[in-house]
């Protein structure tokens, strides 16, 4: 059998993901106790950067997915 690597075990993948979720929650919690300097009214919102980051990520991928319908062509599109 081929050598088992760290991420070959589903248990390890789960561990990595769980650690990641905990860090995310911790970062959001910082907003509760720490007052960031604010340069702009939008930033005052609780968890502004976290929410913005998440929405940006989802909007980016779903937007790009829609773009594919319009823009995607065969690999040899320009060579034909």
């Amino acid at each position: 059998m081929a050598k088992q690597h760290f991420l070959d075990k589903p248990r390890n993948v789960k561990r990595v993901l769980r650690t990641f979720y905990v860090v995310c929650a911790g970062l959001l919690a910082i907003d509760l106790i720490f007052a960031r300097h604010v340069f702009h009214a939008w930033e005052e919102l609780f968890g502004f950067y976290a929410i913005f980051g998440w929405i940006a990520g989802v909007a980016l991928v779903l937007g790009a997915k829609e773009m594919r319908k319009l823009l995607m062509r065969r690999e040899d599109y320009y060579d034909r």
Partner: protein, 567 residues
Amino acid sequence: MIASLHPALIFVAGAVLVALSPGRLRAALFVLTPVASFANLVLGDHAALTTVEIFDYELAVFRADRLSLLFGYLFHLAAIIGAVFALHLRERMQHVVALLYVGSGLGIVFAGDLVTLFIFWELAAVTSVFLIWARRTQRATAAGFRYLMVQMVSGLLLLAGVLIHVHQTGSTAFGYIGLGGTASWLIFLAFGIKCAFPLLHNWLTDAYPESTPTGTVFLGAFTTKAAIYALARAYPGTELLVYVGATMAVFPIFYAVIENDLRRVLCYSMINQLGFMVAGIGIGTALAINGAVSHAFNDVIFKALLFMSMGAVLHMTGKINGSDLGGLYKTMPVTTTLCIVGAASISAFPLFSGFVSKSMVMAAALEEGYDWVWLLLLLASAGAFHYVGIKIPFFAFFAHDSGIRVKEPPLNMLVAMFIAAALCIGIGAYPWPLYALLPFPVEYVPFDATHVVAQLQLLFFSALAFAWLKITGLYPPELRSVNIDAEWTYRWFAPRVIRGVWSFGASIDRALRVHALRGVDAVVAVAWRYCGPQAAAARTLPTSAAAIWVAVLLGVTLVIYYLHGGG
């Protein structure tokens, strides 16, 4: 102190020596040239301005100030890293053109007048195209020709602009120009092409990914950054650049998500990063210019690191599409780690180099009241992490196991990546030496709690979005495909229009010829009928007939005469 030489001269001399020397000596000279030139620049004694007289013109071939020296140091670092990375190559041509290309880039950066600028502007185009052709595939050849044509257009616009500018102002000095008359717009557009402004950007995404694994590392460092330098020199504070930059920062991230060729993903990411610099130049305050210039510095190094890691993957596996790769971390752990350092740097993680420069541009945008631009740049930052910071390492080294088991790349490649990674972390953790080199005094404090927390929140939740989309299966799969972009106009539309016009013209031409031939045929037929061998006009008649006809004519004349009242 010894008087220093122009770096371009050293690179040309190095290229000649490399062209003439054999084997190991050639490899040594290839790396020593940028090192020697760097030492010459740092240690040598250079006047602020060196001029050379040619015919009646005085050319300012070397101008050393804070801005040009910063780019000069940067280009040397990039050349050293690129040379070490390409050291294993047994191809004389690639080494020679790489050195000439770096020399041209340095010529642009140190040019004190517009004529010198134009000369090196063109030389950079002509030398760099050989790094694309060096791949020796049909696709690379075609892409190289397209690249060269676009670069030549940029050069011609620059030439036209410079001629008008010099005619109007009577000065060839290369300094602040600012948008005004025709000349300034022509020069602006010439810079814009090389800087990959939106709609003028496809030469980059078209040609760079077709170059060799080592060629792309050189290409990525010089042309676009020389254009950034030129913009920072001639158009700081031009408001249009703020919006151009914001557009450049945002639109490529969408393309990068759905692009399959990982080096092409990096090209789109390059436009995204250039957007931050262009926006910074447009804002034009001391903070913004410092941000733009330092981001150019960091970008060259972390982009080189990313191009090198993908070059190493391409070199070892022969593949570069996300759909063909995956699971390489198992046998390439060092390359994987170095790639992740580059990814963290471009994503502007605190303690990595992107963080200490990108945030200056963002802060300047807020300070100057460009709220929406700031929000767009924030979107571009979150997006950049998504499609480069995560996508590049994830699809190449993790994701589904492609079953490919290749070793780490040659030692020189690893060393080059290691140098770049060390610079990324070094500048990221201790940015003050870089700050000391910037054009304006730096008051900015990168590592205050607000910046760090906000940036970490942005990045981690952007990553959370990636994880969520991937786990729920909403993330679009990597597909073998082409995504149409502005290049569609000249790679698909224009050829078809030209072909259409050509075939329409050809059909009209054919019809006209057919009709003309029929006309000629008809004339020939008529002539044949009346003048041919069988026709009446060709018949030979006996003499008696002529006598009869004469008699008849005489008779008729007589009758007419008589009737006419001859009596």
